[in-house]
């Protein structure tokens, strides 16, 4: 089971308290589609994803970014139980959506960079370490039901 120190729990709670939830999710997902264009293959029904500007303006991307962020909020509410909490989501991504799990790490990197830009100096190495550990646990949980 994942062990969280008090400092890590505090850092993660602090991040969620500071960041704008309506901005981070949409921004991170848009970046993922722009920086790693092969990820667009999973969003065929989203309409125009042909350029950075189109992606940034796409309402379906924005809406889905908020859905993704909602998933992270669920994880932070269940910090000691992420694996079990995410089992259905993992199954969804592997069985129904057929997402290559490498892509979870790409989106995780984009989330980290968006948050770094929002928090700036407050995103210290200690906070970054706690955040990346959190994301690693989430990604691991999402990968769990594969195979």
């Amino acid at each position: 089971m994942v062990q969280w120190t008090d400092a890590e729990r505090a850092a993660i709670a602090d991040i969620f308290g500071k960041i704008d939830r309506d901005v981070v999710g949409p921004n991170a997902l848009a970046r993922c589609l722009i920086v790693y264009p092969w990820t667009r293959r999973y969003f065929g029904g989203f309409g125009n994803l042909y350029s950075a500007d189109a992606i940034l303006a796409n309402p379906k991307v924005a809406a889905h970014g908020k859905v993704v962020f909602g998933g992270l909020e669920k994880a932070v509410k269940n910090l000691d139980d992420i694996k079990i909490t995410f089992a259905p989501l993992s199954e969804l991504h592997s069985e129904k959506l057929n997402v290559d799990p490498d892509n979870f790490r790409l989106l995780a990197d984009c989330l980290t960079l968006v948050i770094a830009g929002q928090m700036r100096a407050a995103f210290t190495p200690e906070v970054q370490a706690a955040w990346q550990k959190f994301l690693a646990v989430v990604v691991s949980a999402l990968c769990r039901q594969y195979y």
């Binding site: 848009a30 970046r31 722009i34 920086v35 950075a52 992606i55 940034l56 490498d102 790490r105 790409l106 990197d109 980290t112 960079l113 968006v114 770094a116 830009g117 929002q118 928090m119 700036r120 100096a121 995103f123 210290t124 190495p125 200690e126 970054q128 370490a129 990346q132 690693a136």
Partner: protein
Amino acid sequence: MSLTDSDKALVKKVWAKIAPKADEIGADALGRMLYVYPQTRTYFAHWPDMSPGSAPVKNHGKTIMKAVGDAVSKIDDLVGGLSALSDLHAFKMRVDPGNFRVRAPYIQTILAHNLLVSLAVFFPADFTPEVHVTMDKFLGAVAAALSAKYR
């Protein structure tokens, strides 16, 4: 994945903007890397202090950013231009090339990722999605050039 002319132009533009803070960014990125990815400390075990903000980290951050700046000036031939540095990392220091890249299959990566974090922290308004993808590609190309002489 190779750098287009517009990528190269944007890299030069970004470098001109961030160059005044290059030392700070280098120190910041290196400090983050050593803290967040403790496995990278094996290469710096001879330093008296590896903590973010320490003198060895600041100095080496400067060295790294000088090399990145050099890479910008040699952007049309990174493999040739960084050949000596690749020799150094491969044969003298024997650094696992996974440590340079933006993305590695299993381990989260490392120096380039932390350089991007530092860019986002120091220049959030400039770190647009376009700049993000271009710098990601550029640092990937630099990492590939640094790995070129390994075998």
